[in-house]
Amino acid sequence: MTIVIAYGTDQYGRAALAHGAAQAELRREDLVVVNATRGDSLVDRRYADDAEIERIKAELQTLGLSVSMRHDVVPDVADAVIEVAEQVDATLIVVGVKHRSPVGKALLGSVAQRVILDAECPVLAVKPDPLADTV
């Protein structure tokens, strides 16, 4: 049984990581961390560099968890997360959600929203909490 974490290098991604790791420890399940980008802008701040991916993997492994990382350029980030969840037959997807202005909602899509609505397994939506931000 596996838990999928949608990770981006910001406080929301780190919140997802922290809660996901906690759930995995509690439920004795494996972890898959997905960090993807559409790759259509020159710089994507939510896309981690290779060193960071290694670091996260190492830290999660020290918690005694079995971790695999998916780090890729994909056509659509939300689809990529759901696809990975289906592949590994996930029991839970963890995403970080953030407040967005009405204009922002109207103009831009939301990865978290699409994952929550489209995923077939339960989705845990988390918010950043400085105290829980362990990783």
């Binding site: 559409r38 020159l42 710089v43 056509p75």
Partner: protein, 503 residues
Amino acid sequence: MDLLLEGFATALTPENLMYAVIGVLLGTAVGVLPGIGPAMTVALLLPVTFSVPPTSGLILFAGIYYGGMYGGSTTSILLNTPGESSSVVTALEGNKMAKSGRAAQALATAAVGSFVAGTIGTLLIVLLAPNIADVVVKLGAPSYFAIMALALFTVTAVLGSSKIRGFIALFIGLAIGLVGTTTGQQRMTFGSPQLADGIDVVVVAVAVFAIGEALWVAAHLRSKPLDVIPVGQPWMSRDDWGRSWKPWLRGTAFGFPFGALPAGGAEVPTFLSYITERRLTKHPEEFGKGAIEGVAGPEAANNASAAGTLVPLLAIGLPTTATAAVILVAMQNYGLQPGPQFMDAQPKLVWGLLASLFIANTLLLVLNLPLAPVWAKLLQIRRPYLYAGILFFASLGAYSVNFQAFDLALLLGIGMLGLAMRRFAIPVLPLIVGVILGPRLEEQLTQALSISQGDVSTLWSEPVAVVVYIVMAILLVGSVVMSRRTTPPAPTRTEDASMDVNA
């Protein structure tokens, strides 16, 4: 001097000052974004020439040109992806500096170096351009013909890595320039009335720079994001100033003459500046690991060469870089013909433009030092949105020339050509210079031959023409010998090559 002061009076009106600010902001923004350069931006903005007065329009374009030269350094340093071909060399040391945590100093030395070089360069334009114009005005058609032929030759064969590719581009450009009925008979119009007036240079410029580039990016859309190095406020220590000021001056000395010569271009002087600094430095161990001299010199050189380019543009009407070529198109749109009489005929415009260059330079320094982190944010723009906008403005611009749907078809056709040229690494500059200079070359030739009543020897009857032909011969022999002896050492990567890096 009085003329220059009057120029400042023109340039400092609120309206013109506003155009200068818009110009430098826009220029820096497009300089920062790889693949979008000042040439494309000026081409896209050509329709503004219909509604903005000439002085303001040219001030806007000059601001874009100077800003683009500056903005390219930001991406070179923070991203190791040169925004412009002229900042390829800056990336060598600049990115290493940024990686070792000295991004702020690298950006600062680039900004101050650009300011120093731009100011000295503009001063040299003010001193040189009127004098050159006075000399050039005495020349006859044969000498003009020779000088234009030299410009076409150097742009094609001396710059760039492959001569054959350069000539392919040049002849495509000359062929496009031939279309029409300027000589009375129809040439390459295929009997089409729409082609009888010739292909508008605006359409060609927009197609080659904007459509070609947009299609090229669309073909390579998804790429792994690059790591941008975070940066705060640029600043320099006393030691950095001490190590930077000499490279700034040397870089200026390299850049300006290269820009002013019909051979033009910023690639050669930036590279020369880099190797000079590497040889003269007191810190040879730092080169290759992020030496501040290696950023200061080339950055000064590329701005000085941008300033230098304006000398042949204003005094002779010869464009030697892509941006200068498009600015020339803008002048022609206004019905202005740059050349020896230009400075006397339009003193208000020319001196206003020169004064605005000083202002643009100062604005760049004032705006860019505090705004560096903001410029870095531009790189997060999603390219589909960016290029959709570019395509929109390109179509609008091409359509507004004649309000003919046929121009849009031409735009697409030549845009596909531009895409193919990028695909096969054929430089764009010879094409656009060919389109612009081709008809003028023909005009001078007809004039010379009609004065001499068809005697071809008139072409080498003037001393200046003979000297120019000798220079051409030396360049031809020299470049052949050089390419035989060594593989070209200069990293003459173009914008297109830099796009390959992240493709």
